[in-house]
């Protein structure tokens, strides 16, 4: 089996328009959640989110591209450009033939659905733009990355709600580890912050009206975010031979299904995914220094996740650090695991643990070191990234410092 390293990372999200800006915000514990700005927001009862502001697609993409790129594709292309540029890879010949793009998204082109439904239902129009379908399809982002960078290997999109990115990155990792590909472009993207997207989430009544406070006793729900993060996963010897800068190593993953409830999380399902990732990576559990939590800020997730971590790690659960960066960038749904992988890279490469901000009151059911409110400088050798989706589909990745 081959070793797999990360040689490129890119992002755009509410905390920053690239990786350095995002990591700086995480280090400073800055909150990217603010008042939502879009049409008909006054008809929503939830008016906050981790929205990407000051982003002007018209200044970046031409008119023809804009007719084809939904906002989730725009985010993906921005992040992919940063990641692939950083990796220094150019794709031709055999490398191009085997490198693919595996991305996660839960909703795909939600904004395109929203705009066009409005046009035909509310405005009574009987005709829509000819590219509505290629613009909104869930695989549009992966396809545009493949076209832009000449990536002709296996490409597809994974859609497993809040675990989409972790499932996608697990697949990409497995492909490079097995020798199927020398490199893969992977990550995820989401853009649901439009009237219909937020209205749908409102219906579930699990959204906070004021802030995302994971693990805090007074937490009152999740807050949506948007954006993308993209990575280049590369076979270690391939990266070393060309002198690439290595950000971290991906060492294992596990995926499990709760097989129980469509929305309520299961401690057993989460615990099996966490212990499965440790087993796959062959890491003794007391080596894990940091976990980037799923940590949505809902009552159900946070206590279930903490119970699962306590079960898997036993007494070591009290020594490791676990934080939820959703408190800063919001919940990017299908893109969330990708943005959160950046916090794992920062922990391993820079020795900086991103905090859980908005933490106000300890909750006896979440009695772990959640790195409240302020980042911490601690050298960490191994980290995990958790994602537990609606539908009971879980995916956990394990990473190591290089």
């Amino acid at each position: 089996m081959n070793r797999v390293v990360i040689t490129g990372a890119g992002t755009i999200n509410a905390l920053g328009k690239n990786v350095p800006e995002t990591l700086e915000a995480m280090r400073e514990g800055r909150c990217g959640i603010a008042e939502l700005e879009f049409r008909d927001v006054d008809r929503l009862s939830i008016k906050i989110g981790g929205q990407v502001k000051g982003f002007e697609p018209e200044a970046i993409f031409n008119r023809q591209q804009l007719t084809l790129y939904d906002r989730f594709t725009q985010f993906t292309l921005m992040a992919a450009q940063e990641a692939i540029t950083q990796s220094g890879l150019t794709f031709g010949g055999e490398l191009a033939a085997t490198t693919g793009v595996v991305l996660g998204t839960a909703g795909g082109g939600v904004g395109t659905w929203d705009d066009n439904y409005r046009s035909v239902y509310e405005d009574g129009k009987n005709r829509v733009h000819p590219f509505v379908v290629p613009k909104l399809m869930n695989n549009a982002a992966a396809s545009h990355v493949s076209m832009q960078y000449n990536l002709k290997g296996p490409s597809f999109t994974v859609s497993t709600a809040c675990a989409s990115s972790n499932h996608a990155m697990s697949q990409a990792f497995a492909m490079v580890r097995s020798g199927m590909s020398k490199a893969m472009v992977t990550g995820g993207s989401e853009s649901m912050l439009c009237f219909g997207g937020v209205k749908a989430w409102e219906g579930l009544r699990v959204m906070s009206r004021d802030a995302c406070r994971p693990f805090s006793a007074n937490r009152n729900g999740m807050v949506q975010g948007e954006g993308a993060a993209i990575f280049v996963f590369e076979e270690f010897e391939h990266a070393r031979a060309r002198g690439a800068e290595i950000m971290a190593e991906v060492v294992g993953f596990a995926m499990t299904s709760d097989a129980s409830d469509i929305v309520m999380p299961s401690k057993q399902g989460a615990a099996r995914a966490i212990s499965g990732a440790l087993a796959d990576a062959r890491i003794p559990r007391d080596k894990i220094g940091y976990i980037n939590a799923h940590g949505t800020g809902t009552a159900a997730n946070d206590k279930t996740e903490c119970a699962a971590v306590a079960d898997v790690f036993g007494t070591h659960a009290d020594k490791l650090m676990i934080s939820s960066t959703k408190s800063m960038h919001g919940h990017l749904i299908g893109g969330t695991g990708a943005v959160e992988l950046l916090a794992c890279i920062m922990a391993l490469r820079d020795g900086v643990i991103a905090p859980t901000i908005g933490y106000e009151e300890p909750d006896p059911e979440c009695a772990l070191d959640v790195v409240p409110n302020e980042a911490r400088d601690v050298a960490v050798e191994y980290a995990l990234s958790n994602a537990f989706a609606f539908g009971g589909l879980n995916a956990v990745l394990a990473l190591r410092r290089v």
């Binding site: 579930l204 009544r205 699990v206 729900g221 929305v263």
Partner: protein, 86 residues
Amino acid sequence: MDVETKVREIIAEQALLDVDEVQMDSTLESLGVDSLGLVESIFAIEEAFDINIPFNANNPAESDFDISSVRSIVEGIQRLVDEKTS
């Protein structure tokens, strides 16, 4: 529309029971209505009476809306309906 009858009908539908089995002192738990059933019931009640119920599924106990029994739900709805018409 009679609030009590309508609320009992909606809860009965969620619980897959006859309306007669939904008594005023029944709790949602005793009727077998889970958290998803509760959110659906609240939605159906809001639609039936054209009101907004201040209910947060994250923390039902801290919502400004008492769901401890069918009676408390009916009383809460009645108040909201009265506020709307007054």
